[in-house]
Assembly symmetry: C2
Homo-oligomer: 141 residues x 2
């Protein structure tokens, strides 16, 4: 069950992280193998959930932010997370260790949009605290 990725997998993944639309043929050429092999590897990694999904990184608005949320002791954070993941403008919902329990990563049209989300979170009775950080700059690994 221990799916060991080799160097080839890692190379393919790095290319896809940069541009997930790179054709298999082009990746193959770049890493020195055939289209079929790249296809097999990508399919296997997808199967193994090394690749969770193909997606787009967006900046629909001008303001990204992290909203750290503390919830009451006795609350099931999973349910809260699910509900928040349905909110528009929310990119990620993380359950985390540390002081707060849930972190939202959001992408809003403006600061007002961020504020609305914070308000929306605060209005949930399970939520006991929020702390917001604006994301001033983002770069990808």
């Amino acid at each position: 069950m221990t799916t060991s990725m080799d160097e080839l997998d890692r190379e393919i993944l790095n290319i896809l992280r940069r541009d997930a639309r790179t054709p298999y043929t082009e990746i193959a050429e770049e890493v020195g193998t055939s289209e079929g092999t790249v296809r097999n590897r990508v399919e296997r990694m997808t199967e193994d959930d090394v690749i969770e999904r193909f997606t787009v990184a967006t900046r629909t608005g001008n303001v990204k932010a992290m909203i750290e949320i503390g919830v009451a002791m006795d609350v099931e954070t999973t349910q809260i997370s699910e509900r928040m993941a349905d909110w528009t403008e929310v990119d990620f919902v993380w359950q985390v260790s540390g002081e707060e329990d849930v972190v939202l990563v959001v992408d809003c049209a403006d600061t007002q949009g961020v504020n609305d989300l914070i308000t929306q979170a605060r209005e949930m009775e399970e939520v006991v605290s929020t702390k917001t950080r604006l994301i001033l700059d983002e770069r990808l690994g």
Copy 2:
């Protein structure tokens, strides 16, 4: 200059966020338009940086974490960010407002890997503090 996204753009984007490999033809059918229109819209959104890039969400390791990093007052955080973005296992580097200045989102093979990154950060003389949160669960908006 005011790039106003309409409802159609938003619908297309939502489909792509779920699965960026959905063919234009399929998206078109789903939102009730033609392949060409979807293509135009996606091209325009890419051009306008509403879509920053096509990418893959990965979980190469077992442990994801946020590492919050405080740097010395007089330091240029941009340079630090650039250097950290080059570290393997780092997905995002954010410059943020709030107590700490930089947040790393990382995806490591194990907790040891997370620890190594923290150590690596602490060894930079500009870094004055770190605080780590493990990401116990992630869901996408």
